[in-house]
Structures are given as structure tokens and as C-alpha cells.
Amino acid sequence: MLGLQAKDFRLLLIVVAMTMLAPFILNPFPVNSAMAQFNAGYPDLMQRFVIFGIFAIGFNILFGLTGYLSFGHAAFLGVGSYAGVWMLKLLTMNVVPAILLSVIVAGLFSVIVGYVSLRRSGIYFSILTLAFAQMSFALAYSVLTPLTNGETGLQLSLDDPRVLGVTQVDGTIPAPHLFGASMRASYDLVLGGWQFTFNVGYYLSAVVLVLAFYLAIRIFRSPFGLMLRAVKSNQQRMSYTGLNLKPYMLAAFVISGMYAGLAGGLMVAMDPLAGAERMQWTASGEVVLMTILGGAGTLIGPVLGAGFIKYFENIFSKINDTVLHQWFGFMPDGLEDVVVFIVHPFIGKGWHLTLGLLFMLVVIFLPGGLVQGGQKIGGLFRRKAPADDSATRKQPAE
């Protein structure tokens, strides 16, 4: 189907189902229950899940296939964001031109960075990409402030010219839209104690994610993808087989940079502000972690990794002691305090600690990332139901 093998098509269907039903999947708890804190089905976080998913998918095309570890990929996302915001400021609040320009600008920037950085391999390549990204960040924060609005981040203002749109509507800035459908528009569906939110911006991002994921599958299964895996495996044999590494690597780098730009463009389409921190090395490191955590070189892994990290950042950081006391309120007072005291360091301001511990646990116990964890669980079920013939997979899950 769609030019995919059955296995890949099944994976695509899973992703489609996951993204389209996300408002249900991510809101498993009734609004007023104590566990509602763990609901993630609100527009902003759902958007973030898929946007960072796209970013990680793109990064994985470079890192997962070729093994070249770029430590400056956030620069492309940042550059794309700036381009997108400028488009929203100058042209129209329709998000299509903004997203397109984000992709193009990020692509061009990655041609430059890639052309230079790909002259080296291994850690030397990583440091070159890191250097470019850090320079972009430092300059965007300071010298390039007229272009980037520095510390605050580039944002819309009430006097943007907007050639193909309106500058302001009664003293407010118009919202980004897709041919009239506002990115912020949402439906709420209330089912008993549950509430599910369907947001236009999220569904736009989700459709883009599905397309990006489909494209990634095609790339993975294409001769081009095969060549990229060959680069990772043996560069010497590759050139003595008459293949020119450089254009292959550059193409992979640029495709992956354009994915980052796409993510950046979507980000500003959802929320029209581009901050310089988006390009800092920590942001580049984050996508590396997402990819490794999910499972580098696998198709679905990076998306899972992105969801994992964003979930902790947004959900765990918001749990405070008041919430804890609510949760454990049923316990006797003394015990309640003890439990709160024990849990306290890991939530709220301690969310970093939890994340760090989980990084270590995952990499120690699941060397193949979250995907391997999924396979292990899947394996348990298969043992019970041996009818499923796909259990014998030799390659790492793809």
C-alpha cells in the first residue's frame, strides 16, 4: 500500500492512529480526578509532541542512517523559525508561506553548514556543526538583534506591515491561520467526566507529521537510504564501489536540515515567537537525546523519544507540593508527609533529576532505546500468541 511493504504500512497506520486519536490517548483521566495532572491532551503539548517528532525524524535520517552525529541541528530549527515569523510579519498570517519559507531557509543554511562540516567525519564533524550552531545562537542573541529581537525572541507586533493581510484587528494581532482556519481554534468534546480537545493547529501539525513520517519511510527503503546506511557501514568500500560519498552525505544533511526547518516553521505557526535559545547547544543536544532515547536508526523511535522528553518537561515540571498533598491526602498525616518528602525532589523543580535518571535507566536496561522496550513487551505478548509471524525480525526494528 502506498508503495510500502506490509510491515511499514502497518507502522504508518499506527502512527496515523496515534496522531489522529491523540486527544483521546493523551487524556486518559477524568478532568477532576487526581490523576488529571498526568493528562497531556491539551493543544500546546500535543503540538509540541508532533513538532519535535518531526524534528527528531529528520535528525534520525542523518544520524540514524549515516551515523554522522550533528550537534548543531537546532540551528536549522531556529533559522527556520525566524524565517517563518518574518513571513508572518511581512506577508500574511496564513501559515503556508511561513512554513514553506522556513523549510527553504533552513535548507539553504544547511547546505552551507553541511558543505563545510562534511569535510570531516566522526567527532570532528560533530564539533564543526556544534560550532556553527553556537555561533548562530550567540549572534542571534546579541549582534543580530535587529533580525532576531535577541533575548526576547522575534515576535509579532501591532505595526507589522503584512502585505497580503491585515496589520491588526481592533488593536489585536490576528492569529495565524490556514486559509481561514485559526491555528488556535479548538473543539471541546465532553464525555462524562472526560474532556477531549481537538485543536486545528494540532491537526495541521499531525498531518504534517504523518506526511513527514511517510516520507521518512520511503527514504529509509529507497536506494538513497541504502546508500546512506552503506556510508555508516563502510566508507572505504563505498568509494571503491564507485559511489561519491559527498553528495549523498550533503543530501542527507540538507534533507534533515529541512525537516528541522519544517519543525521550526510549524512551531511559529502554532505560536508566532522565535527565541534564540532554540539554537543553543542544549536544544541540539535535546534532539540527539530524543533520537538515542527512542532508538537511533529506527523509524518510530525518534518520535517516541521526542514525546517522552517533552512529556516530562511539561508535565513533571508542573507537579508541586500542593498537588502531592492532594494525591496522598488519603494517607495518615505522618505517612503523607514522609511520602511527599520522598517524592518531592523528583517533581516540580526536580523534573530534570527524574529525566536524568530515566536517561540512565533506559540506556542501561534498553540498549536499543524505547523501541527495544516496546519490542520486549511485544515479545511477551507474542509468546502467548505465537500466531504472529513477524516475531522473527533480524534487523533492528524499523
Binding site: 564539533i127 564543526l128 556544534l130 560550532a131 538515542i292 532515547l293 533529576l353 536524568g356 540498549p367
Partner: protein
């Protein structure tokens, strides 16, 4: 001229810090082939050894009689320091004043233990794993370490002054015939530079002149062969890791009077020290030291107003610019060896 001399001096102590951290990092790279993202955190732990010691030395109990009222109007009790009680006021004050240098003695066993536990407990299991896994696990470890420190010491910087005698600055300019105040340099930074030189020399001497060092150097060059000789290289590498941790930790201890330590100082140095190591060339100890000082001095030059007015923002990007230029002209950094971490 004096401005240039001044910036060379400034570059030296910045370079000392870079060189010391990079030295430990490259020892671990070179000997163990591990990308250690927790190295910055080790530097930070070293700095907090100094903080901890000064806290320990300042342990006190409240005075018997209230000496006034606190901000809420409640009776307030003075803190009576145990050191003062035990050693007398003068000696007590002296000990507290010298807490940073004393922390070196305090830090050595702690850092060795930290290095030993890290290597045996965690890093050891990742030698054969891909670099990606090493990055993930050491990054996770770095986060955990710094969050633990944040939990106990807060996020605010903690002032840890140098001993009284080393405060203030020395006027080099007068010595060299310039006018007064042209080239001033703080005493503690001189101490730091000298300390760095001693430490670097010690590490080099150790590797150069002891059999232990020879085996380790041979292991850096060709791990498998040395393994084949039946030498237990793993045990030596554990010790090497502990030494690397110690070097970074001591660099951190002595750094505290220069800038008040905080929990994320390790991350601030981490990326820079990676750049230093790579610019120096993977697997090359002299390269790391050279690149540390070189980048420190260039960074100082770039901060001169003349430079920033010439190229706005040059002080923001100089290190990365130099890294790019070096890596494009010298494929393996200044003194790197072929084949180390090129895949």
C-alpha cells in the same frame, strides 16, 4: 603593547581552566574511548568540595545567651564556631580563611572515589557500546549530579573567597616599566596558573616516567595489543579515570575563588572543553593543553574593544570560529592522531 601583554596574562588563567578540564577529558577519550559528558559535572563537584569544606569548617552552635533580636523581633543567638572553640579565635579564623587551599586535601580522596565509583559502577559497562549510548548515559549522569548539588546547595552562586593574603592584585606593569595600573593581575589567578602548571606537569611526568604511565600510553596507542600482552589494562584504566576525575576536581576546587561556584558551572564548561579537546586533537594530551591555552588567550584578545569594534560580536564566537578554522586546515586538530574517534 601593554594591552596585549595584559590579555595574554588574562588568557593564561582562562586557558589553565580549559587545559585542566580538557586534559582529564582527553585522558578518558584517549584511554577509554568514552565520550564523557559528565566531565563538566566532575569539575563542578570539585568546586563544591571547596564549598562543603568551608561549610564544615564554619559549623557552629548557637550562643547560650541571646545577643539581639532578629528581623521578626524574636531573640537572636550568635553562631559560635566550633573551630574557634577548639583552636582559638586566631587559629580558627586562619583555618576558615584558608579553606580553599585546604580543600585540595579534602577533595583528592573524594574525587578519586567519585572517579572510581563512576568507572566501576557505570562507565565500565559502556566501553563496547556505541558512542551514542555513552553520550546518553553520561549526559543523564551529569544531569543527576548537578540536580543533586542543586537540591542541597541551591541554584545561587556561593561565594568562596581566597585566603586573605591572595586577595587583591599585583602590578606587573610597573615591573616591566609601564605606568602604574597598566597591567594588573590578581594574586589568586597567579596561584591558579602556577597550580595548573604543577598539575599538568605532574600528569605528564606520571605518564612519561612511570611504568604505569608507559602501559597506559601504550594502551592509548593500541589498546588491543596491550591487552594481548596479558597486562590487565582494565584496572589501569580505572585508575586513569580516577586520575582524570581528580585533575578536573582539583581544577574546580581552585577555581572557586575566581568565580563563585553554582550547580550548572559544569555544563557551562562542558561544551567549551569538548571544543578544546577536539581542537587540540583527539587522543593528544599535549594537544589538549596547547589548545586550552591557545583558546584562552584568543578569547581574551577577542574581548578587546579594538577587536569588537572591528568585528562586532567576535568575542561571542571566537572560540567556535577558531575551532572551525583549525579543523578545516588541520583535519585532526592541532596534534591529533589518525583514526581516533573518526567514525
Amino acid at each position: 603593547m601593554d594591552a596585549i601583554l595584559l590579555q595574554i596574562l588574562n588568557g593564561l588563567d582562562k586557558g589553565s581552566a580549559y587545559a585542566l578540564i580538557a586534559l582529564g577529558l582527553t585522558l578518558i577519550f584517549g584511554t577509554l574511548g568514552v565520550v564523557n559528558f559528565a566531565h563538566g559535572a566532575i569539575f563542578m563537584i570539585g568546586a563544591f568540595c571547596a564549598v562543603t569544606l568551608s561549610r564544615l569548617l564554619s559549623l557552629s552552635h548557637p550562643s547560650a545567651e541571646p545577643t539581639g533580636t532578629d528581623f521578626l523581633g524574636n531573640p537572636k543567638f550568635d553562631d559560635v564556631l566550633y573551630v574557634n572553640e577548639w583552636f582559638g579565635e586566631t587559629a580558627g579564623a586562619f583555618i576558615i580563611d584558608w579553606s580553599v587551599p585546604l580543600a585540595i586535601l579534602f577533595a583528592i580522596p573524594i574525587m578519586v572515589a567519585v572517579g572510581f565509583i563512576m568507572e566501576r559502577g557505570l562507565i565500565k559497562h559502556f566501553y563496547k557500546r556505541p558512542h551514542a549510548d555513552q553520550i546518553l548515559v553520561t549526559f543523564g549522569l551529569a544531569i543527576v549530579l548537578q540536580e543533586v548539588i542543586k537540591y542541597f546547595y541551591g541554584a545561587n552562586p556561593i561565594p568562596t573567597p581566597a585566603p586573605e593574603v591572595f586577595r587583591g592584585s599585583f602590578d606587573f606593569g610597573v615591573l616591566l616599566g609601564f605606568e602604574a595600573n597598566a597591567i594588573i593581575y590578581p594574586y589568586w589567578r597567579m596561584v591558579y596558573f602556577a597550580f595548573a602548571l604543577v598539575l599538568i606537569t605532574a600528569v605528564f611526568g606520571f605518564l612519561q616516567f612511570t611504568t604505569f604511565g608507559m602501559v597506559v600510553r601504550a594502551g592509548m596507542a593500541d589498546r588491543e595489543t596491550v591487552g594481548l600482552l596479558g597486562i590487565n589494562i582494565d584496572k589501569r584504566f580505572t585508575i586513569m579515570f580516577a586520575i582524570a576525575a581528580c585533575v578536573a576536581g582539583l581544577a574546580g576546587v581552585m577555581y572557586t575563588p575566581i568565580n563563585s561556584p553554582n550547580y550548572h558551572m559544569g555544563m557551562d564548561f562542558l561544551v567549551l572543553s569538548f571544543v578544546v579537546v577536539v581542537v587540540g586533537g583527539m587522543g593528544s594530551l599535549p594537544g589538549a593543553v596547547l589548545a586550552g591555552f591557545l583558546l584562552g588567550i584568543l578569547e581574551s584578545f577577542a574581548s578587546m574593544p579594538v577587536m569588537t569594534s572591528l568585528i562586532p560580536g567576535i568575542n561571542q564566537i571566537i572560540i567556535y570560529l577558531v575551532a572551525i578554522v583549525v579543523l578545516l586546515t588541520r583535519p585532526r586538530g592541532l596534534m591529533g592522531r589518525r583514526g581516533v574517534m573518526e567514525e
